[in-house]
Structures are given as C-alpha cells and as structure tokens.
Amino acid sequence: MKINQDKCIACGNCSYVCPMGAIYVDPETKRSTINADECVECYACYNGLSQEALPPRTARLMRRFFAQFALRFEPEPDICPTAAFEPDHLEWPRVVRRAFSDPRVPHESTGVSGRGTEEVKTNDVSGRVKEGEVGFTIELGRPGVGVRFYEIEEMTKALAAIGVPFEKNNPVTSLMANLETGEIRSDIRDEKVMSAIVEVKVPVARTEEIIRLVWDVEKRIRTVVVLGVGVRCDENGEDKLVSPILARLGYDPHRAKTNLGLGRKVLRDLSAHAAPGMAQVSDVPAPEAAAPRARVTEDA
C-alpha cells in the first residue's frame, strides 16, 4: 500500500484505522507515511475507509486557516477525505502478507482461500473430525499484534517434533519447506502477517499434550496465541470427552461455534420445490457484475 503524497492532507484518520499501527504523520514531510516493514498489506486503510474527493490544496488551506483560530478540521473518523491510498503491485514474498491479512483475497500465493480451513463448520458433511478426535486451530498474531513467519515456525517445528501431522489444505502448511520438521520456506521467514492459523488433528488422548506445547511455545514468541478446539459431539449432542480435559487444564470455554448438523451431501433443489409465499431464486434481482472492489459503494 502507498499513500499519494500529493493527495494526503495529514488529517491522521488513517493512523487509527491501521490494525498494525504502521501509519503515522511524518513531521518533516507533513504527510501520512507507512512503515513498510510493519505493514501487513491488509488493505484496511484502502478498503475500510470511505473515500471522498475534497481537493487536497483547498483542504490543506482550510486546515491552516482554521488552525490560526485554534479550530480543527475534523472529517468523519472513518473516511480518507482525499482518497489518498493507492494499492501497490506486490511481488513475492511480500504478496504473502496480503494473502494472510486481507480477508477479501484468496491465497494467490498458496492456492488456498482464507487463513484456515472449514474446520468443523462443515463437519456434518465432510466428517473431518470424528468422535474421539480433536481438531486444533492455533492462531498466532491475533488480536492486533501480527506475527512473523519465523515465529509461526517455532510453533510448527514444536508440533512436528512430537509427530503431529498438519492439515493439508491449510495455507501455513502449504508454505512449509519440510512437513516432517515443520520448517517454513526461508524466503518468507521475515514476512509479517495479520494472523496465521496452524491446524492439526489428534486423538482426544493427546489434547493435553498439544495445549501444554502451545503454552510452552507461546512464552518464547513475541505475539499472541488464541486456541480453537473442534470436537464431534455424541448422538445426544454432548461433548463428554474433551470438555473435562479443558476443565482440568483450567479452561472454562464460554464461547463456541455450534454446528447444528443440518448439512448433507445433496442440497435441496430450490428450482423445483420453492416453498409457497417465498421469493423464487429467479425473482431475486441479478447481482451486479463481480468486481475486485465490488464491496465498495460507487456513487460517482
């Protein structure tokens, strides 16, 4: 990402919007500037801020004028008043930053969409985690800290050392140079990303071992770790295997994603069996053409 220095009026809005705190107003140039080493190319500044079209020179003049009277130019907090952000063309390995940080782009570098997989969200169809198994999502860098790949490697090497297989379709796995050792490709080790998820699946008996390992590695790396634990419930919808282990380790999980088990291999054919009184699929207006920035309202 770059900031067009001719357009920027140094209002400072973007410095608050950057999740990594990598944007600041340079006192010499009097323009917003990005610390490229800390920027994770999440595009929160470009996509998250509304963009307006105030003429930069006039806006600067107004700011200086108001400042003379101790008054302040105060645009809405979530806009860039002069649309000063411009996406950069990203080359390898920097493109990896965006793939792990901007949720709107697929993993062009890895060929996998999202930072992780479907975990147990589609377990009712895929059967990925069976009774007696536990699927771990070990997310590093979140919230708002970020993580470098050499820190992720600390975790993957530790997991590999105890013989835990990695989830094949996970983006981190696809960037490993050696699946047996958990070694990450050397050309991306210094790259920083918003967050990355390491996914493994083990028998329930190894639950405590994995959690203790995460505790140990977490103390050695300078980022935050958040653990997700995926389990298959029994026929009564209860989890009697993993929750006692978590309680023994001092956890009292109060938030969870609950899969209702409504999925199956063949979806309902809506074209033939639409329920009465409901809009037919064909009644819904045709979507606008998909564009890379289709999520942004265009009114000009």
Binding site: A44, R104, E118, T122, G228, G237, A256, G263
Partner: protein, 229 residues
C-alpha cells in the same frame, strides 16, 4: 476461518450476540452436490424476515459498507445507512453467509425455520456455548460439532481498555484496529459522537458483515460511563 469465534468478553456479554452462518462444504472430498448459491440466497432472504442487525457476504461485505465518491460536496452529506437487501442482491458466489441477531427469540426462531426448510447446507451458531445449545434445542436437533474458543492466551478479562478490545475483536479478521475502537470510545466519552454513530463507523470497516452493531452500541454506552461489561 475463526473470525466469529474469538470475541473478547465474558459469557454474559454475549446475551445479545448471535451469529448464524451457512456455508457449503468445498472440495471434491466433501462430495456435496447442488446449487449452493441458490440455497444461500434463500437462507439470506428468510433471515430478512427475522430482522437481523447485520448480514454479511464474506466476499462482498456487510449491510453497512464504506463509500467512494468523486463528488466534492459528498463530504457534507449525511452518511449511508445499513442496507440488508444490497447484501442479498450482491451475492455472486457460494461462500460463507452470516446473519447477526441481537436477541434470543429471533435467533432461535430463525434457526427453527432453517431446520424446517431442510436445505442440507451446514449451519453454525457462533455465540456463547449456552446460546448455541439453546438454538439447537429450539430447532429440535442435537449439537453435531463444537469449536470452542479457549480465549487469548495471557489476556485476562480485566485489562485496560477492555471495551476497546471487545469492540475490535468483533471483527475476527482483524480489520477493526484496537486504536480505532479506542478512538470511538473516546469520541463517545467526549460526546463528539453518539454510541450509534460510533458503532456505525466501526461497522463500515468490518469486511464480512459479522459485526454486531447492537452489542457495539451497548459496549460504547458502558464505556461512556466507565461501567465494566
């Protein structure tokens, strides 16, 4: 992704936070067949009847999105408001579709209706464990699978700027910066913005529509008077 899972806050702070989302099982290995986009579009159409506080298409965004303009005078106009229909109209690809409710009755009624519709698509409820269990009970189904959040290692409940943390973690993709959430808390405390306006500013930044503006407004009201949540 775990973007709805790891929200910061105690169990009781999720009483008005239900994210119901549907997604197709991807890949040949899953073996799922059928028109997932049509099913998801119907899922979202039905959701509109239950008055959600936000809806989102992971690809295109939520009900309240940033705007772009080349009109100089747009700066002086009122801001845009949430548009749920735009989310449904804009769906182009079968991905994760999320609906956010701020009350138990609506969430449970919606889940019950979706079960009756029998779409065959995977549906999850992201909320407190108890809320998820209650939704299953309302739908008359046992829980199939669970994904527990064990919380942020080393970050306890009583931290400085607790309210900002609760707001920023409502976007699990990390798009809502902690500093922006703190700025909105400060704006509300200084009476420069109402809690609603501050919540809308944060909601626009969330890129997939899972931000809960009702919960955000409540958190900002608590933050304004220094009340712990």
């Amino acid at each position: 992704m775990t973007n709805t899972l790891h929200r910061f806050g105690r169990a009781e702070s999720f009483y008005d936070d239900y994210i119901v989302f549907a997604l197709p099982a991807k890949g040949k290995a899953s073996g799922q067949q059928g028109d997932a986009l049509a099913v998801l579009r119907r899922f979202m159409e039905i959701a509109r009847e239950y008055k959600p506080v936000n809806m989102g298409d992971a690809l295109h965004g939520g009900a309240l999105r940033p705007t772009r303009t080349k009109n100089v005078f747009r700066h002086f106009f009122k801001r845009n408001k949430p548009d749920m229909d735009k989310v449904v109209r804009g769906m182009t690809k079968a991905g994760t579709m999320a609906v956010v409710f701020d009350n138990k009755a609506a969430a449970e009624a919606f889940v019950r209706r979706i079960r009756e519709e029998d779409f065959g698509i995977s549906v999850n409820v992201s909320s407190s464990v108890e809320n998820g269990m209650a939704c299953c009970k309302a739908a008359g189904v046992p829980r199939h699978s669970l994904s527990y959040s064990l919380g942020f290692e080393g970050i306890g409940d009583n931290i400085p700027n607790q309210h900002a943390m609760m707001l920023s973690t409502m976007c699990g993709h990390g798009m809502i910066a902690h500093s922006m959430a703190k700025k909105m808390v400060d704006f509300v405390k200084e009476n420069r913005r109402s809690p609603e306006e501050a919540a809308e500013s944060l909601q626009r930044i969330c890129s997939c529509g899972i931000f809960n503006p009702s919960r955000a407004k409540r958190i900002l009201e608590d933050a304004k008077v220094g009340r712990k949540t």
